[in-house]
């Protein structure tokens, strides 16, 4: 980890990777937290 942090470009790349992971986790949690009614509505709207 310190090898990545010692390089500013690698730190930025790691930040972008973490952002992608965060977006995927957010989408997963939002799907999981939906009520059955909300899931039905979003399925219909797709």
């Amino acid at each position: 980890m310190s090898k990545i942090l010692e390089s500013l470009p690698m730190t930025i790349v790691a930040g972008i990777v973490l952002t992608v992971i965060m977006v995927m986790a957010t989408n997963y949690l939002e799907e999981t937290n939906k009520s059955d009614a909300e899931k039905l509505i979003s399925d219909v709207m797709k």
């Binding site: 310190s2 942090l5 010692e6 500013l8 730190t11 930025i12 790691a14 930040g15 972008i16 973490l18 952002t19 965060m22 977006v23 986790a25 957010t26 949690l29 939002e30 937290n33």
Partner: protein
């Protein structure tokens, strides 16, 4: 009136955030990479004058960002949901901001006080403290990227 106060709190949160992240990026994109290029006899201009001043606004910007951010979350009614990740869009950003602020006040600032000679320390403690401050400052730079994404996407659904 309540709308205006909400707006004001949000404005103060962003104002403090710009102060904080602006100086964080100054440290990481400008100061740290420039230090090796500065002649030794000129380095005290950074370590004795610029860095202490920058660190003052940096840490109080962080404190203000957290304070106004938490007030905003409570006033808007999403603080608990966000911090328990029932609202992950802003919740992840809040957690990253809190971790970053913790890093500023409890790791970076204490280490910088040693590295800059603002407190008494052994000779070999200074370079270790300087490295610790650098690594955690880089960690905050890394976290600032998803944190800002979280802030923007929470206000601009559906994000991606």
């Amino acid at each position: 009136m309540e709308d205006f106060i909400l707006f004001l709190v949000r404005y103060l949160h962003v104002l403090c955030g710009v102060m904080w992240i602006g100086i964080l990026w100054y440290f990481n994109f400008v100061q740290i990479p420039s230090m090796p290029k500065i002649p030794d006899e000129q380095k005290p201009a950074i370590s004795k004058v610029i860095a202490p001043e920058a660190l003052f606004w940096f840490r109080w910007g962080a404190a203000g960002t957290v304070l106004f951010g938490l007030i905003l979350a409570v006033m808007n009614g999403y603080a608990h949901e966000a911090l328990t990740l029932q609202r992950p869009d802003i919740g992840f950003g809040m957690w990253m901001g809190l971790i970053m602020a913790f890093n500023v006040w409890f790791i970076i600032w204490p280490a910088q006080k040693i590295a800059l000679g603002m407190v008494e320390a052994d000779a070999d403690a200074k370079p270790k403290a300087g490295r610790r401050a650098m690594l955690f400052s880089r960690t905050n730079t890394l976290l600032s990227i998803p944190m800002l994404f979280s802030m923007i996407s929470a206000q601009n659904p559906p994000g991606l």
